[in-house]
């Protein structure tokens, strides 16, 4: 589980990501390359950002997996998000003095550190890329909201299914899924801290899911999805929040700062002044 989780091809993760929402021009790629200029390797389980301490430089993750997490005063840990290739780390460095969460490597990683100032420059010089950054940020927030929904309203079994599906989708998206190998490098401990469960219960939940034929017996080699559709059924997966619907065509013309943003009619008070959709227990 400790090998580097490299990308399928040697392509730049940022170019790969943003070319999905933007027709990158020569100059855009050049600018993105500046983010990835100072590549550096790190081992597993190393800290990149530490909660309560000042941010260091910002970084892009090129290869490997990291986790973003928070610690309660008594040591309980909550993993907030998985950081996959192409994700930014510590981009708030230029906004906040002190980090409100930690980021650590999960596997050996390759990252590129850059001066946060580069973000400002990008907005100034390549507004189209600036728009892409905005979009990227909004996507991360959507992901966070879905996590909230998962933690609050899904059972352990459902939550695990959802996490696995979501992670697979994101991996496909960022090109981080190995061809003949769909294992995810996450230990049960990490899963527990992500789903807000105890390690023991995660073990039992995984056992059940394995015997249900939904995942592989990937013990100690990472968990592996066997039946994606089955998992999606389990948790009623709805991909809307990943916002990948209309990326190909429409998005390209809208993200660019050159084009006009359009206005749409208000949607207010549906239901004739009634209450919001509320499933009431009898």
């Amino acid at each position: 589980m400790d090998r580097i989780w490299s990308r399928v091809n040697g392509e730049s993760p940022l170019v790969h990501k943003f070319s999905q929402c933007l027709n990158l021009e020569e100059e855009d790629c050049r600018q993105l390359a500046r983010f990835e200029a100072a590549s550096r390797s790190m081992g597993a389980r190393e800290d990149i950002v530490v909660e309560g301490e000042p941010y260091g430089q910002a970084a892009v993750l090129l290869e490997g997996w990291c986790i973003r997490y928070k610690l309660l005063p008594d040591g309980r840990r909550q993993v907030v998000d998985f950081v996959l290739p192409g994700c930014f780390i510590g981009l708030h460095a230029h906004i906040f003095e002190v980090a409100d969460h930690s980021v650590s490597t999960l596997t050996p990683c390759r990252l590129s550190f850059f001066d946060p100032q580069l973000v400002a420059e990008t907005f100034a010089e390549r507004p189209r890329l600036g728009g892409a950054l905005v979009w990227d940020n909004a996507c991360r927030e959507a992901l966070l909201m879905e996590r909230v929904a998962s933690l609050g309203r899904r059972s352990a079994y459902e939550g695990l299914a959802h996490l696995l599906v979501e992670t697979c989708k994101r991996l496909q998206w960022c090109g981080g899924l190995m061809p003949g190998d769909n294992r995810l490098p996450i230990s049960q401990t990490v899963i527990a801290d992500t789903l807000g469960l105890s390690l023991v219960h995660v073990s039992r939940t995984i056992s059940k899911m394995r015997s249900d034929g939904l995942i592989e017996d990937g013990t100690r080699r990472g968990i592996a999805v066997r039946d994606l559709d089955g998992l999606m059924q389990v948790c009623g997966y709805d991909e809307t929040y990943l916002h990948r619907e209309h990326l190909p065509a429409r998005r390209r013309s809208r993200m660019g700062a050159e084009t006009n943003l359009r206005v749409r009619p208000l949607i207010v008070g549906l239901g004739g002044g009634g209450s919001p959709p509320r499933p009431v227990p009898p």
Copy 2:
């Protein structure tokens, strides 16, 4: 609980909010006024944004409370965030086609709807304000992460305490706390859907907290905090994530430098009913 939760004075919520992180100039205030130009009233329990449907216009909440929430396919509801005066709603309208969450009024509200295009203009014409928007957005993300930690790793009692403290802090911050009245207009149903608990258990938790002398018997009039320090002890409250540390001095020079703007438009904005019983996993 149905009166309008107005602001302490008639000041503009946006001016109030951003003057805490920025020395607003005459022209800044004029620009902010454009966001608040088209004021409109709404009743309690009306929809503003509906998950799965296209966004409407964006809005600023001027008075009242709203909730941001998600629905699972089977109707379970998870409240993601409280929207307080000065908060934006549907600011993603210019990024995403389809809303990934809903927003509804909780109390009667006054809002101002504006064309999302106004955001782009603001970044272009008043970069200092653009920086403030970025900061505002980052704060909301920090809030979301804390919510994740709460849902995943705090008990019902701790989570309730944390939610109450956080909400009081935010209210003080946005000036939405009435002078002689520290009641919060949130029903137990809303609390349950925020903490990811059942209504019944919230009722019991509140009872206990009340008998512990931490909150007032605000039945049917909203819950009221009696012992803020006590609540903070219960949940080990750490305010770091609200990022209010160095707002007074330092922030002003960093956020606002039209000269050396370290941050640049990284826009992004994000801006009733109860959850049915959770189905038993197979």
